[in-house]
């Protein structure tokens, strides 16, 4: 699907072999530039789990120090606390600089100098590794996050199944040269996208020059093209871990979703909203909740309900996941109940009112997720690397209105082809 976002330019800047550049004029004075770099398929092995996290931490350290030491104009054009952000997923790493609109050229220049041209510093490496190890501990202590990771290990395999923050062994085995090599490959033209949010209708000369310098500094290679969606065969099954620190069992049931941009992806987002919210199918399923062996509040609200739907990412490998808190003895009941809700959609048990509600929620949810320029800069870059655009909520509303019930059914049927589960059980 190719949605044509109003006012969004898909442009190439610079000479010769060039990376993908996407720009949006934006509104207001808050602007951002994101360098979104994809992890090349097959580049990493399981023994190198956590390499992207380590790279992200090295870049964070480097850029924070550069910002602190530079008496440059940029230092006062960044918002406190969130001027520079480095985020990553198994698919990609994104470095974002949020600035006021007129400082975009300086932000682009800063990215060029500190994220691209300056070699990663071996002196920072030990500190970066320590930081990743700490983040790993924090991540592992997040019950929902860790259970979801167990589920993804089953569902997706490959690098999607590796621990996001690696293991102590994999992190110890990685050296700065290997991380630098990975970053060079990620920055190669076919893998990288520069996303500008708030560039104005016509980027000025300073910005164009800064972009030309940035793209010129990237490793030369193949002309960037929208990447075809990666194929993947999801797998079913379960991965169970014991965790003495949890009081109840934690279960995540996951279903593979079509890649971002396809109609099946948007159908899955609608399906998600059928399950979610104060009057969604999961909240209405009091009989299932009653079987989970929990003491439920007299006046339960959606926020403290034991069954919660997680978000669906803009990704080439998205999934729909539902988390349940349950008595250990009722894990299978919870899993069957959750799968039953997806099966009901697959069988066409959808009312018009449910569909309308879910479409409306999906549009508003999209409005929330894309409200900030920094988020939009990254999401637009990720979408571009998948060969897609980032629609605004009006466009999403139009698209979702065109989704037929049969498409929802088909999406649910596809999801049921492989059901993956992650479980943490409360015992030694």
């Amino acid at each position: 699907m190719a949605l044509v976002a109003l006012g969004v330019m898909l442009a190439l800047v610079g000479e010769g072999q060039r990376p993908l550049v996407v720009m949006c004029p934006g509104a207001g004075e808050a602007a951002a530039v994101a360098l979104v770099a994809r992890t090349p398929e097959g580049e990493l092995s399981a023994r190198e789990a956590g390499a992207t996290a380590l790279l992200g931490e090295l870049l964070t350290l480097r850029m924070s120090r550069a910002l602190a030491s530079e008496a440059a104009l940029l230092a006062r054009a960044l918002p406190a606390q969130r001027g520079i952000e480095v985020g990553f997923e198994p698919d990609y790493l994104a470095v974002t600089v949020a600035v006021v609109r007129k400082a975009l050229p300086e932000a682009v220049d800063f990215l060029r100098r500190w994220a691209v041209e300056t070699p990663l510093d071996a002196a920072d490496f030990d500190e970066a590794r320590e930081r990743v190890l700490k983040r790993r501990d924090t991540w592992a202590a997040g019950v929902v996050e860790h259970t979801a990771e167990l589920m993804v290990q089953v569902l997706s395999g490959g690098r999607y199944g590796w621990p996001l923050y690696g293991t102590p062994e994999s992190l110890r085995a990685l050296g700065v040269e290997r991380i630098a090599e990975l970053w060079r490959k990620m920055l190669a033209a076919g893998n990288v996208c520069v996303s500008l949010e708030g560039a104005g209708e016509t980027p000025d000369e300073r910005l164009t020059e800064a972009m030309a310098a940035l793209t010129g500094a990237l490793p030369q290679g193949e002309q960037a093209e929208a990447s075809p969606q990666l194929s993947r065969r999801p797998r079913g099954g379960a991965k169970v871990e014991d965790n003495p620190n949890v009081g109840r069992a934690s279960l995540v049931v996951g279903f593979a979703v079509e890649p971002y941009g396809r109609r099946g992806y948007w159908a899955a987002r609608v399906l998600r909203e059928m399950l979610a919210g104060p009057s969604g199918a999961l909240m209405r399923d009091r009989p299932l909740a009653a079987k989970l062996g929990l003491i439920l509040p007299d006046r339960p609200t959606w926020r403290d309900w034991p069954l919660q739907v997680l978000g669906i990412e803009v990704s080439g490998h998205p999934y729909l996941a539902i988390h349940a808190v349950t008595d250990p003895a009722a894990v299978h009941v919870a899993a069957e109940g959750i799968v039953g809700h997806v099966r009901a959609v697959a069988e066409g048990k959808i009312t018009g009112a449910e569909l309308d509600r879910a479409r409306r929620r999906a549009v508003n949810q999209w409005a929330r997720e894309t409200a900030r320029v920094t988020d939009r800069a990254v999401l637009r870059g990720v979408a571009a690397l998948l060969g897609e655009e980032l629609p605004d909520p009006k466009q999403v509303a139009t698209l979702l209105a065109s989704l037929r019930k049969s498409e929802l059914q088909a999406a649910a049927q596809d999801m049921l082809k492989a059901v993956a589960m992650g479980v943490q059980m409360p015992r030694d």
């Binding site: 006062r76 918002p79 006021v100 919210g277 929620r361 929330r368 900030r372």
Partner: protein
Amino acid sequence: MRLRELFVVLALVTWGLGWGAILDAQRVKDMTLGNGLHVIVLQEPQWGVVSVGLNVRCGSLHDPPDKAGLSHLLEHVLFESTDPTAPGLGLAVEEMGGYINAQTLRDFMSVEVLVASNELEAVLDLLAERLAKPAFDKEVIHQEKQVILREIADRSEQADEVAMTALWELAYPKHPYGWPVGGTKKSLSAIELGDVMAHHKKFYVPNNAALVVVGDVEAGRVFEAAKRAFGGWKAAEVGWQPPPPEPPLSEVRTKVVESQSAATVFAVGFPAPGIDHPEDVCAMDLIYTWFNEGEGSWLQRVLVNERKLALGAEAEFLTQRYPGLLILAVVCPREKELEARQAVLEAVEQLRSAPLGEGELARLKGLVYTQYAFTNETCMDKAGSIGFYEMITGYRFAFDYIDLVEKVTPEQLLDVARRYLNPDAYSVVVLRPRPEGGQEAWVPWL
């Protein structure tokens, strides 16, 4: 001045020219409905979202003396439903998939909603139904009191919250700004159903409120929808008299509290201007920025990094209807408390002794501009800013703010520092770790 410094200053000053409007005054329209409800619309023809904010001048300032926390409790109650078959305001917006946030400050309360722009009418209807014509229920009030008591208990375990609450109480022994916004266990227990209903009846009237809409919507559509949704809301005389101002501080007022924390926390509060002195407010924002914003801020660069007297520090200055506080809060090792406090006073003296250089002032203005740009990043942020200033002075201030900041001169800033940051007239709260063995080493000059 050395040549290199001159070059930097020129570069900074030049960079400051040509700032874009963060809030575009050309795109704002407003009207007042027949019942007095002020409707303000900022059209942002981008991205298909809209934010709706309903603001009511009903903050802790308006609480009766023995019922601190009443306004905050009322906000909580309005979020909930008295009808078991219908969701409360919060859940109703969640049910739509939108985002809702509500807050009670000292001067006012606000509810803000973010949704796709086609939902404008639905949100206005919902807000009108739940905020203008609510039903009240004793059980819901009891339930929300329990929620707030839990919030108070949680805050009582956070050193910074304890210090802030104690500091406002210390600085404002008479004025309602000294009362905790959420109230206390005692004040909440004194509040009954009738109090909540009477408070709502008194303050939640359209002539005491403002509706702010920012987003991908035309003003005409908003005005029509607002008339339909809120037109039946009855105006009434509010009948509230502003409290007498707090007498000026003429001493160093100190309170020491023993705490469980491993480090010392102290919060120094200097008197700060209210919105009736807008030029002073802008100068104080620059002073706040000098202390707090960015890597080059005094608290971070000098107190934490260079002199290593503090583990962390932050400043706070919220513009309010009446004079407030510039707060400098510091976490430091116990043995460095006196040195850190002395350093804070030295920093104040630095600001009082000579005007800042043009280059430094330009840097601060740039930081204020950037912070303002990003606190107005989304439609919801912008609706928040416009509503905020509408409640305490008039919404135009949100549009004029950056121009006013730009006009502040080094001499003005010096004058404001000298008038407000008096080293002989401030309040300080110290949370000191309990001494081992029960022997407290009291500092003689406290």
